[in-house]
Symmetry: C2
Subunit: 523 residues, 2 copies
Amino acid sequence: MELEGTSIIGNGRGRRDGGESFRAANRMNGGDLPPDYVTASAGEIADAVRLAGEAAPEMARLSGRRRGELLRAIADVLEKNKAALVDRTPKETGYPEMRIHMEFARTVGQLRLFAEVAEEGSWVHARIDHGDPERKPLPKPDVRSMLRPLGPVVVFGASNFPLAISAVGNDTVAALAAGNPVVVKAHPAHPGTGEIIGLCVAEAVRSCGFPEGTFSLLFDAGIEVGQALALHPGIRAVGFTGSLGGGRALMDLAATRPDPIPVFAEMGSVNPMFLLPRALRERGAELARAFHGSLTAGTGQMCTNPGIVAAGDDPALGAFRDAVAALVRGTPAGVMLTEGIRASYERGTGRMRAWEGVEEVASGGDGGAFLFETRAERFVEDAGLHEEVFGPSTLLVLCGSAEELIRVAESMEGQLTASIHGTEEDLLENRGLVEALERRAGRLIINGFPTGVEVCHAMVHGGPYPATSDGRSTSIGTLSIERFVRRVAFQDMPDGLLPPELQEANPLGIVRIVDGKWGVRNG
Amino acid sequence: MELEGTSIIGNGRGRRDGGESFRAANRMNGGDLPPDYVTASAGEIADAVRLAGEAAPEMARLSGRRRGELLRAIADVLEKNKAALVDRTPKETGYPEMRIHMEFARTVGQLRLFAEVAEEGSWVHARIDHGDPERKPLPKPDVRSMLRPLGPVVVFGASNFPLAISAVGNDTVAALAAGNPVVVKAHPAHPGTGEIIGLCVAEAVRSCGFPEGTFSLLFDAGIEVGQALALHPGIRAVGFTGSLGGGRALMDLAATRPDPIPVFAEMGSVNPMFLLPRALRERGAELARAFHGSLTAGTGQMCTNPGIVAAGDDPALGAFRDAVAALVRGTPAGVMLTEGIRASYERGTGRMRAWEGVEEVASGGDGGAFLFETRAERFVEDAGLHEEVFGPSTLLVLCGSAEELIRVAESMEGQLTASIHGTEEDLLENRGLVEALERRAGRLIINGFPTGVEVCHAMVHGGPYPATSDGRSTSIGTLSIERFVRRVAFQDMPDGLLPPELQEANPLGIVRIVDGKWGVRNG
């Protein structure tokens, strides 16, 4: 596959002689990678959004079966071109090939899972309230409603998941499955990966006969293209995974629009983990090994990386701490996604080393993993210690009592995940902690680790601010299809003019709510 | 029932010697109504939110059956005190007694409908994905999720629905049904109505043994209390029905918070109505009568008041126009909700009378109903003509062709409703119009009128901005329960620690989605 370095705008390509150009760094050798990538011009942005706007009504008319067909076709074309990704993506990200294979499997799996959802069709949550013309004092109208696509969606590629959370990652797949056109702002750290994926999607769009504006992908050396997209009157929603600073800037920008639009920003968190006494005593060494694996997965660059571990300060914890410390000492610097992330990790760990009341327990040396330690009182009073250090650094918080574990939990902001390791007895004794964490997290994990988010139907990869811009939705799992829709009601509409999902005979055989009765498939 | 004029803060009352005080106007005679109402102090605001924060975890633990019990108890206490409302509310609003009876029925009906939803329990949309410890390369975790309450909600009473969209109106009922405490900012135009309702709710909260902070109601002569509530760190969401200016101000305020929160603002719209040729020819006179009824319902002060009527300029329209004009001429000034609304209506209709390219067809004289007319070209190019004139004023837009009807539709912003009157043949010939309106409205009505929103399960009283702050939810109907929740996932949680909705045996017998299969009640 030949890389050109220009934006993909519907069936066409952007100009080579446009704005500022940039190259991807080669994270494997410190060099860079051709070709030059050209920042999309204002005209190219306008073209991509115009095409998306033209595609939107047509896509809204296409059936779930047709949308499923598109998603499956994208997965097929990606599989044909997997070798190009396995060649390019490790260089652009520093990830080992094995990681790319796993993320590729998740990406095509996700496409096919959403295809199933679109094809099955019940996800539109159809509701029917039959009318009653004889009702007194007023006749009752017939009201039917379902979820309908929102319109053109902008998706920002994430640095840390070049396949599964980028050009054709979760938000793109959810938006397409729901019937929305997508304009991707490719992440500048892996533009080649973005171009390969973009060309695959464009090929599938053409081969399935979807409208040209179904998908575009724009390059940008900086943040201007993303800002212009978030402010563009033709855009109806934004999906973003990245830093708190970047996500908040997009939220603030969208809030200034004449017509504010929803921004779904996943901005990471410290994913606190709580270790209860019996679990520590019974399997401290095993916990230490598994914890270290979660801490260093993807060189610590997971949104769900466990950055805080809280536990009672007793001998069983000492064994856990010593085992983690030994493993951390054996974890030297890994290749990080970008030089910026590397520098930010060094600043963050440097700040922690100098923090009053924080002790460095162990480090892998020279930018490797870090284990820090502090006491609960210190942690509770100093919100600076709650901030994410993106990378394989973690802070052990020593608590003097079960109540102090709860105070630590209650001092924290919204989180993507919270984990508790405990026996059933531990958990029953610490119900207050379980409840405090449930109020702060999108996902509560018992005896497991936060990294490795399962792409399934019940998954919540969300959580109260600042984990996300709005904790009422998820970015991973099939429920994310509910981001890019709004409900439309049809009152007294003749049956033949209704979408099939709402027609009386239920031609698609979906599950509906009829006259307040849940789970009705017939009638 | 003795009215005191002080805020209701949990089980207590605010101070009499607090801030600025005000009285409700008596809309029936131009006088005012005792007692003096006292603006809540900063300390009273803090107390109400603190109590709500304390109540939140306890309410989150209470079952749907218990929440249903509370809603039914509120309805019962309201019924015991109906006479006090029938006495006070007409004076505070200028609405005739009959209107109060109807709105009262809607209000208690709404409470009992949400009680059914809370008791039945499937509304939490429980999802279960069973784990598979043998899966390769990684074991599959058990993931279960459901909707959980968001925490303390602020609800702003609306001027135009003192019962059904105010202190214990749609947003309050939805928030309570979902398990959230509510702090109401009572509308200053009908504080006595607010106090009566507030006392009823407080009595039901006590008799049902709900925590004290379940409900508070604060008075304010101005906007400061509302602003303080929207910015308070303890508040998790805002529900509002009112003007575009007021709603947008709340949206902007919430967006500046360190932790932005969702603002659900219903800000009204012009609810365009399209008349197609065969319907006009077949039943123009009947349409004129029914249209006039919708235009003047509640003295035109409905969020769904039809402010724009578009139709082809042909002889059948002439008959409709003449009939409406005659009815409008016979519609003198009615009592409006406040002097502010009356003045704003006079300004709005005064502006229309002076508008270039707009003709006054008929008026009821001296602040009564108005029928204006303009041509489609003028309407499409002048967005000022798309703005709501709150009251019984409507603008007829004359179109030269079916394409011009579509252009009129496409020139408009988001709407709560759009209505089309047409025979089946008309509708089939105008599919482009139907689709254009569907993209702009929360509810599409065929051969009906927008006023009189049915409180049911499929209702959408929402729509793209500026009809609402975020067209992805509804403020009326049982779906509004989904405003005040977020989904929480539990991973590998022992069955006994799961909420009953997610336990394997499904003890509540609710409908769930299990391993991607919809509508499963067993297992």
